[in-house]
Structure formats: C-alpha cells, structure tokens
C-alpha cells in the first residue's frame, strides 16, 4: 500500500494506492493524477544556467514539458554543462531536445 498526496488542488487528499486499486480520492482529477503517478510519474524542473558577460550572473530556465521523474538528475547534469554568453529572450530555446526526451530547455527571462 502506497500513500500519495494529491497536488491537483490545495485540499491535498491522501490517495491510497494498493497494487492496481486506487482509493480515498475525492474527485476525477485526483483519480487521474494517481493513475499517472502510478504508471509514469512526471515532473517539470526549473533551475539556472551560468551567464557570461551578461547583466545577470545566472539565467533562470525551465523545461517546456514535463519529464519522467527518474530522469530529473540526468537532465540536470546536462543543464549544468551549459553556459549562456549572449543576450537571451524570455521563452527562447537554450537547448533543444535534451537527452532525446523531446523536451527543450527555455529561458524564463530576458537577459541582456
């Protein structure tokens, strides 16, 4: 038996997962969330990339899609290798298709 806190709304239901049986959810969104968590848990990550000769020391970045939870640290390792040394705009792609996961790393902000 596994217990997960639903993150869909602030109620934070403690949903119970027992093999294929999901219980203690209070809405359909909660059930869908628990199913997704059971089969393929995904997360977005946000972090920063080192900036060289720009007006800020770091540029905040994020992924444009969620990635499988177990790939988080592999993706972070790739992001750590990057440097930004020219002007970047909010939403601009900094690195395409990271680790062939079909997700892009994009800038959260415009930095000159």
């Amino acid at each position: 038996m596994k217990e997960i806190t639903c993150v869909i709304c602030p109620a934070g239901c403690r949903i119970l997962i027992d093999k294929d049986n999901i219980s203690n959810y209070k809405c359909k969104k909660g059930l869908d969330y628990a199913k997704e968590e059971l089969i393929n848990p995904k997360r977005n990550i946000t972090t920063t990339v080192k900036a060289i000769n720009l007006t800020k020391k770091r540029v905040s970045v994020k992924l444009d899609k969620e990635i499988p939870k177990d790939k988080i640290f592999d993706v972070l390792k790739e992001i750590k290798k990057l440097k930004i040394n020219e002007k970047v705009k909010r939403g601009e792609i900094i690195k395409e298709n990271i680790l062939n996961l079909g997700v892009n790393l994009i800038s959260q902000e415009t930095v000159e």
Binding site: C6, P10, G12, T48, K56, S60, T110
Partner: protein
Amino acid sequence: MVRLNNFDLAIIGGGPAGLFLAKEAKKKGLNTIIFDREERLGGILKQCIHTGFGVEIYNKDMTGPELIEELMEEVLNLGVPYYTKSMCVGFENNKLYFYSPKGIIELSSNYYAFSLGARERARGSLFIEGSRPSGIFTAGFAQYITNILGLKIGEKIAILGSGDIGLIMARRLTLEGMKVIGVFEIMPYYGGLPRNIRQCLEDFEIPLYLSHTILKIEGEERLEKIYVSQVDENLKSVGLIKEFNVDALLFSVGLIPEIDILRKYLLINNKTLGPIVNQYFLTNIPNTFVIGNSLIIFDLVDKAMKSSLNVLDYILKKRKRDLEEVKVIQGNLIRNFVPQILIKDGEKTKIYFRVKEPIFNKEVILRENEKILSKKKFRALYPAEMSEIEIDTNLIDKNEIIIEVI
C-alpha cells in the same frame, strides 16, 4: 532636490502587488508612479524560479521571473513612470521623501499605496542556544544566494520550519546536488501547502520531522552540528537528543509584514503584524493604503495582486464620508485576518483569513451575537492557506461582528 507633484496614486514597492495595482490604476486613467529601492523592479519574484504563479490572473502556470517580466512589460507599455534605486526614507506632512541616484526626491500624491513586502523571521527571534558560526541563513536569503548569485550555500543542509519557502528550498538545493538531511517543524503539522510537501520533500525522500526542534547550534567558524529533539504538546523538549552533522542551516520560520517607514503613524494589528485596515486596505493615515505582504502574509502571489484592486475600488468610487464603521473580532480557531474594520457603505466585500490549525469538514462564519451573516464550508483548510469569506455590509446591524470556525 527633485520635486514630483500632481500624481493621483504613488505606489511604493514595485513587486507583484504594486506593479499589478499600477497597471490597473493607469488603465483606469489615474496618473500613477512607482518607486522601488532595488535596481530592478519585481520584488521577491525575481528569485522565485519555481512554477505556481499566475494561475488565477494569467490563467497559466508561470515562474516568478516570467510573471514579473510579463507584468513589467504591461506596466511600461502603459507608460507608468518608475524610479528604481529609490528608498523611501520619510513621510511628513503628506509628502514622501526618497533617497535616489538623482538626489532626494520629494513626492506629493493624492493617494499612497505601500507594497513593501515582508521580512523573514531569523534566528534571533527563536532563542536557540549555541555559537554563532557562518552557514546559517534565512530560507529566502539562501534562495537569493542560490538562484541570483549562483553560489553554493553548503554541502549538508538542515531546514528549520516547514513553511513554503523552506520546502521550495529543500527541493532546489537537492536539485543543485546538496544533501538536505531533513526539515524540522516544532508544530505537529506542517506549515507549507500539502502540494509542496509532496513535490518538494516526498519526491526526493527528504525526511520531515514534525514536533521536532533544534535545541543547540555548534561550530567554531563554520556550522558543524545541530542538536535536535522531539517536543511535547506544550512544545517542550522531550526524549532523546539527536545530533546531525551539517554545514548549513536554513530558517523558514515565517514572514513579518514590512512597514517600518510607516510605523510611527500606523495602528498595527497584533495578529497580522501589519496595519489595521478597512475593506479597501485604507489605513488610519488619510489616503494611505497598504497592500500585498506588507498588509498580511498572503499564501499565493495571485491573491496579493488581485486584492490590491480594493484600493482602486475606493479611489474610483466617490464615497460618502463619515460612514458607520464595524469592527471585525477574532473568534475560535482563526489565526489572523484582514480587514479588521468594515465601512458600512452598502457594498459586498471579502474578509481574508487564516486558521490556527488544520480543520476538516467545518464551517467558517461571520456572526453578530447569535445571528449568522455569512458562512462557508471547508472540506479541508490548512494554516498555510489563506481563504476568504464574503460579507454584505447591508446585513450588519451592530458595530461588531465575529469571524470564527464552528
């Protein structure tokens, strides 16, 4: 000295609440101006690189820098003038004074809205014994060091307090390759939102120690060790003392509204630690409003932004003077709330409140004596969340109403 005159509304503090109010005020034709003491507008959101912002106002899940950049573009496109690196240092005879790169600025405006944000409670407010080594940070400052400066605060980290900033930082530092050995919370329940417990702690198997606190801090120059113990229902230390070797410790033990510049004039509420206001966030100082976290600590940025429009509502509607005032009194299980005063102007309004402890399947009511004026049911409500209840000021007969959980 630079003299700035003839403004309708001056906003002091260009964070999300201040910028949002500036945007909406300008759209309504008010001659508006913004001041901020930092080099860049945006306030604390500049360093909040996680998502969860803008859901209510922009209908999308944004990060702090994304929301601020979008909001700033809107404000600047509307042509709202702003002064950065300008620190408010005085408020005399209905004029504000700033230190700025242009020298001293003297400002006069019909209305003033202060959106000064909040300060973090630090080690000094907790009376933990031990030495004073380096390596001890408030969670928000650690966030600044990590996200803005890009520096590493330590290797093995402990976090005291389970407020949202501490939880967000637990995840952030883990992603940066640091080891977070645990989050210690003196209360028997956590202080942050349930979803942050899930996404920030459970996802990374970071232990949460409820009913635990730090008794002693040890370290010559750098922090070396903390001593942790369980506490009983009176929050007194009981049982074994555990030792943890850490080189950094974060305090995430609450925020306090920042209103220092107004302190000598303002009436302060001893629960919010912000000013006493009416439903338009008008303080006891004529034509002076306080909004955002300098009024009351909000749970969500969107709420701090949206509620700032109460100010605009007041300015735009010409109100009769000398309307009757009603006091709102704190009742059962309510931790704090705004407004504390309602003007009986015949309009509907909202009271924003927090509960003292988690409640399940209960009602929050507004009543005068035994007559219930408004009620709202909650399946679950945590102290971390701010909620709101509506009230029609027409329904009030007495000069006092009570807000409470039943």
